[in-house]
């Protein structure tokens, strides 16, 4: 059992995890009569890699959408950086430092890789429309500064060779990486990754795992991820939330979760005949 004091804890590999940065309290989400999320609470700590796992239809993606503001839960509250988060549209959530990727890649297909990643910095750019129109010099300089930051992200994720390529032409694995790059370009405090490795081959999965660990290590970014590949999840994450049928059935370190009877039942199926 980890020592989870208010200040944080130290992981098995010696990383210092900070205090709680985002807390979900008694979240319930309904679609008409269907309860997609049933009274779930958990927290996310600074610098942590936090996984949400569960069988298909468990409500993992819904949870991701609640955190990123795409869904508004009927009940419960979200405490972010110590304050209760008011109801806000998803673009404003993005502006508070929460970036995300999507299960079915959502890139701007008509734009180049570079332009896609530049949109990630939209919120960090100060020059408004009029200023850009009337005061070209400083705006152009600002554009250059952002371009430099974007180039760093491009180097970091090793996609230099495709920077001018229109996204529509890229293979699936690279698209996933570009989507990660766009999210990273926003310099988020929390990075939400919805099945970052879905549909990838073993090699691509290894690359992606390495990038996720590097991002966390290099920038101290808190990462929340949904993943199906159990091997990957157990290797990557510091703490795991397990969901099944909209309920939370487990929460703890990978080892704790692995030995949790409810989790084993949910994953292996339990015979009701006995």
């Amino acid at each position: 059992m980890l020592d989870q004091s208010a200040e944080g804890y130290v992981t098995a590999d010696g990383r210092q995890i900070g205090p709680v940065v985002l807390e979900l309290k008694n979240i319930t989400l309904r679609f008409g009569g269907v309860e997609a999320i049933k009274n779930i609470s958990f927290d996310i700590r600074e610098g942590e890699i936090r996984a949400i796992i569960g069988p298909n239809g468990a409500g993992k993606s819904s949870m991701m959408n609640v955190i990123s503001g795409f869904y508004v839960p009927q009940e419960g509250e979200i405490i972010y950086k110590g304050y209760k988060r008011a109801k806000m549209p998803p673009y404003q959530v993005a502006r508070t430092g929460i970036a995300r990727t999507f299960q079915n890649i959502a890139l701007f297909e008509g734009m180049s890789v570079l332009d896609n990643i530049m949109t990630g910095r939209m919120n960090l750019m100060k020059s408004g429309f009029l200023k850009q129109a009337l005061w070209w010099g400083p705006a152009a300089r600002e554009e250059d500064e952002h371009r430099e930051k974007v180039e760093k992200v491009i180097d970091f994720l090793e996609i230099q060779h495709i920077r001018k390529t229109p996204v529509a032409r890229l293979p699936y694995g690279l698209k996933k990486r570009v989507e990660l790059a766009r999210a990273l370009a926003a310099e988020p405090q929390i990075l939400l990754l919805d099945e970052p490795m879905a549909g990838m081959n073993v090699e691509e999965k290894e690359d992606m795992s390495r990038f996720i660990l590097d991002v966390n290590d290099e920038f101290g970014t808190t990462i929340v991820l949904i993943e199906h590949d159990m091997g990957v999840v157990m290797d990557l994450s510091d703490r795991v939330v397990v969901m099944d049928y909209g309920k939370k059935i487990g929460d703890g370190t990978p080892d704790e979760v692995r030995n949790n009877q409810d989790v084993i039942d949910a994953y292996l199926g339990v015979s009701h005949d006995e």
Partner: protein, 328 residues
């Protein structure tokens, strides 16, 4: 060169003028369609409304004067001053931005995630509303619009063509201005959409709403922005058309001519709207020139639609539109 070829060339040159007007209206359509997937039926009426407002400001007309006089028994029509064209244009731009904000607040915001056909119906409603509003605000009579763009035969074109072919072309000077202004407008739009933050946001929204939201782009702001730009483009079209043939309600009908332009150029392509407009403008003049002796006049009324039908058969995505690929 034979006279016939020269006359045909002259007709083609004049077709460019009409074509650029079509292009400008089509451009407004494309902007809104790209950003929000809405086919804005009201684009033509926006041009009319912009032109009416511009004339109203310029001549110091009191808005709603008929209504005011009818209710209060007064007899006011003018403020008694005229406004310089530049100031009137700036004020009209502000009015167009105000309309964009109101359209977003009162219409689009409430129809998010609705079927495209519903949004289309809403723009039909908007078209009739604006037409009526323009009527009540500024009166229904035909108005003269003059913002100082020179008109009449261009002596320069006359001279050059006379020296070249021994026959001077008649080309309205307004046409040349229209071409120049349209070129500047399109260049500005391209620079805006390629090299500015908001332009990038605009393209992002046109591409994927979800992704745009996730990087912090407000869809509502982008909608106001596109409708404002479409309003300004409509104002330019309104100025050109109004200077040529007066501001009257038939102006809103040019929207219908923009339809074949869009089918030719593709619904999502800015260069497509321009090239499509010019092709149709030139095409209908040339067709009329050559076919009139054989099948009689008034071919201009239907030529564009026929051309659009042919295009639908062979290239339904238009010249520059995104290829339609059905994946199974």
């Amino acid at each position: 060169m034979s006279d016939n070829v020269l006359f045909a060339l002259e007709a083609a040159a004049n077709g460019l003028t009409v074509g650029i007007m079509y292009s400008l209206v089509a451009l407004g359509f494309v902007l809104i369609f790209k950003a929000s997937g809405i086919f804005n039926f009201a684009q033509g009426v926006l041009a009319l409304f912009a032109a009416l407002t511009l004339v109203g400001f310029q001549t110091g007309q009191v808005p709603f004067s008929h209504l005011i006089n009818a209710i209060f028994g007064t007899n006011i029509h003018d403020f008694g001053f005229t406004m310089p064209a530049v100031l009137a244009i700036i004020l009209t731009v502000l009015v167009m931005i105000l309309i964009a904000i109101l359209v977003e607040r009162l219409v689009l915001k409430h129809l998010v995630n609705q079927e495209p056909i519903i949004l289309f119906m809403a723009t039909i409603g908007l078209a009739y509303f604006l037409e009526g509003l323009g009527d009540i605000m500024w009166g229904a009579e035909v108005k003269r619009l003059d913002v100082g763009i020179p008109q009449g035969m261009s002596p320069w074109v006359d001279e050059v063509t006379y020296n070249l072919f021994g026959y001077g072309f008649y080309l309205d000077e307004l046409s040349l201005w229209a071409l120049g202004i349209a070129a500047v407008l399109v260049t500005a739009l391209v620079i805006f959409s390629q090299y500015t933050k908001q332009g990038r946001a605009l393209r992002a929204v046109a591409d994927d709403h979800q992704a745009a939201l996730s990087v912090g782009i407000s869809l509502r702001f982008i909608w106001v922005l596109t409708w404002s730009i479409a309003g300004i483009v409509a104002l330019v079209a309104g100025i050109m058309w109004g200077s040529k043939s007066g501001v009257q309600f038939s102006l809103s009908l040019i929207a219908l001519k923009a339809l074949p332009v869009l089918i030719l150029g593709g619904f999502t392509s800015i260069p497509g709207a321009i090239v499509g407009g010019l092709l149709i403008g030139v095409g209908e003049k040339l067709f009329d020139f050559f076919m009139q002796p054989i099948i009689g006049g008034a071919t201009e009324n239907w030529f564009a639609y026929m051309l659009a039908l042919v295009f639908l058969l062979f290239r339904p995505q238009g010249l520059f539109g995104e290829r339609i690929i059905e994946r199974v």
